[in-house]
Symmetry: C2
Subunit: 406 residues, 2 copies
């Protein structure tokens, strides 16, 4: 069994086990650091106006499943290779139902109508003039982490890659709704995308706290696959509600019962009924290092690293077990711990070289604790597809290989 290290300074014993480390006077078999390496012997190149990762960095999104037709794809973020809490825009997960529309931003319009006093048609220039906000939030597809079909060779990109985290900038929806004047009796809003499936979802007005009409992500304007030039962004709610390529908002007195909230995005319960309108993404966490497909080189010090998040506010804590749940240790949370945002957790740990099972369990500021798979199945049965936030684990073999732990 691994030893959870009580004291962050305990890693100081690391030095003796560093495979590549040696006294600075030691010799290295290859052209070593005390030589002048070839790249120091000549002037380097310059970078392009808009830069790219270096040639040795190969992180990429890929479809989680073969798409049934080209535009219906869900690509996953390589969480195993990311650090901190941000996802670069080029690696943010995608979910398209009809591909990415090639929108001319000068011709794009947002229509706001229904139970409002002053219906409006807005250009992107109009929207950019409104007062803006910028906030760091995660976005998670409710279909993240498949309930069934787990494979031993799963990576965390396979199991949890339908989530990403970014800084979103735009106009608070409440600002726009104040501008148009919501009328008495209004209770729901319909959001419609300009993609070829005209993706539509209904959201209750009272679930729109912090909602943003977003036009920028991590500083720059939205990427085409994230809704360029405008998307709805609903912090903490299932990703599908954050309608991309937003072209229309209609205020009404009841849900609009669209295809994507009746035949899809409902949770089939044990009694055969379907639970509709499950909006909030509950507290969840996953260990990203060590994680599936990785290989520990040798026993000794390793930092267990992972991500936690909750749609209900801030993460209050994350516990980590290295013995399959027999004992738990409190992980360090990297600040700032922001609401409805990724929180990076870390735990110093010494691997003794035997088999282990690593688990993480998040809790949020409401007191909610991420459930075990058994507890979740007891309520939800095994016919669910969406909203799996169960505790998740990795097996560590005596050879240091990391695989999915059932």
């Amino acid at each position: 069994m691994g030893e959870v290290m009580e004291n962050r300074r305990a890693f100081l014993r690391l030095a003796g086990s560093l495979a590549g480390a040696g006294a600075a006077t030691g010799a290295l078999a290859e052209a070593g650091p005390l030589d002048v390496p070839p790249w120091t012997r000549e002037q380097g190149a310059t970078a392009p106006g808009y830069g790219r990762p270096g040639p040795r960095e190969t992180l990429a999104r890929y479809p989680r499943l073969p798409p049934p037709f080209p535009g219906a794809v869900a690509t996953v973020t390589p969480l195993q290779g990311l650090h901190g809490i941000l996802t670069p825009n080029g690696l943010h997960y995608e979910r398209h139902h009809a591909g990415i529309p090639a929108i001319d931003p000068d011709r794009h319009r947002l229509v706001v109508h229904g139970l409002v006093a002053r219906p409006l048609i807005l250009t992107m220039d109009d929207i950019l003039r409104f007062p803006a906000v910028s906030r760091l939030h995660f976005l998670e597809c409710s279909g993240n982490t498949p309930w069934l079909g787990a494979k031993p060779d799963w990576t965390v990109q396979d199991s949890h890659g339908l989530i990403s985290c970014a800084e979103w900038t735009g106009v608070e929806l409440s600002t726009l709704l104040a501008e148009v004047g919501v009328q008495p009796g209004a209770a729901w809003i319909l959001a419609e995308g300009a993609d070829a499936c005209a993706m539509t979802r209904s959201i209750p007005l009272d679930a729109l706290d912090g909602a943003i009409l977003a036009y920028a992500q991590n500083g720059e304007r939205l990427r085409p696959e994230q809704g360029y030039p405008l998307r709805l962004f609903l912090p903490g709610l299932e990703g599908n509600l954050s309608i991309k390529w937003l072209r229309r908002l209609k205020v009404g007195d009841r849900p609009f019962q669209t295809r994507e909230e009746t035949s899809k995005y409902t949770d089939l319960m044990p009694d055969g009924t379907a639970r509709q309108f499950t909006f909030v993404m509950e507290a969840k966490s996953v260990i990203t290092a060590p994680s599936g497909g990785q290989q520990l080189r040798e026993p000794g010090f390793h930092e267990i690293r992972g991500l936690a998040w909750t749609g209900r506010g801030r993460i209050a804590g994350v516990e980590v077990s290295t013995d399959g749940g027999a004992s738990w240790a409190e992980a360090h949370l990297e600040g700032p711990v922001l609401p409805r945002c990724f929180t990076r957790f870390r735990l110093p740990w010494r691997w003794e070289g035997g088999p282990d099972k690593l688990l993480s369990r998040a809790r949020d500021e409401t007191g909610y604790v991420q459930p075990s798979r058994e507890a979740l199945v007891a309520v939800r049965g095994t016919r669910s597809f969406y909203h799996n936030n169960a505790v998740f684990g990795w097996s560590l073999g005596a050879n240091g290989a990391v695989t999915y732990a059932a």
Copy 2:
């Protein structure tokens, strides 16, 4: 003169002046939003595994001055087109003295020696095993904002583009120094890069609070132009000290008096002496919208937007003047306000259509207030090149054109 809007809700008068807005039942000359636009009529494309900005988004870095030779370049970040506080990695400013070395990360080594008990040679795998931290910080070249040579057609990219802000992940330098054991008498550290100029700088050990051996930026591994695979990152200090392509750290008892801290990166004072070792980047701010080269379309509501930062901790407040400094209004600071990080400020404002002069003035949590150019010149003279943090302004013509304000 413009009217600073006392009340954020006052923008509600915006609707009447929206150029593109109309009642939702109104007609538009072109194919309008109530029609189905062409991009909604067909399935869209899919995105590449590592995404790029859309074809209509053209933000790019460019050299601030023609480089004296190809590898000696300073490229500037397009602050006028960015939102929030983050800079995408592809747009982070660069400063190279000998181009970008093409380093093989498997062959790269970090040597730590000098006044230490246990000198070490570390591989990148070794460094990735140490306990890590992730922090959001700005990085500013001390040569940002030229003292002389201002031009009326300056954009904020020209005047302030040698600054960016990102999430940096790596090993705290204090962790590594504890590992090697700093010996009595140690007071300075030399950092050396693996580029063709072997960039070297000396930093006092007591100025290293929060220093990171950084290997990741905004989630992913460093870009080649930012020091891949490893750089020093010194929060709040002049950018040149954050040695890229870090290959060596040597602990000593005094500064090493390298070329870049004697003939360069010193401040020529009015009496002809040179001030050496000016490390901290003091509080500074700039308005990014409206800013040089932009054009206000019409009088009415506009949000003044800008960035503020200080190497000494957190920004405490930003004042904005729209009348050339005769009166000042307190801007709204977007949270979270983090130490040694960009802070976005915003101020609702109604432009009445006449000429105006827009200024911003930051203060930090130490009580320090960003000085006027006159106050700064009184101390520093006019022979300085580095460390210009003076209050900066934009002129707004009666035609809505924005230009540099002397």
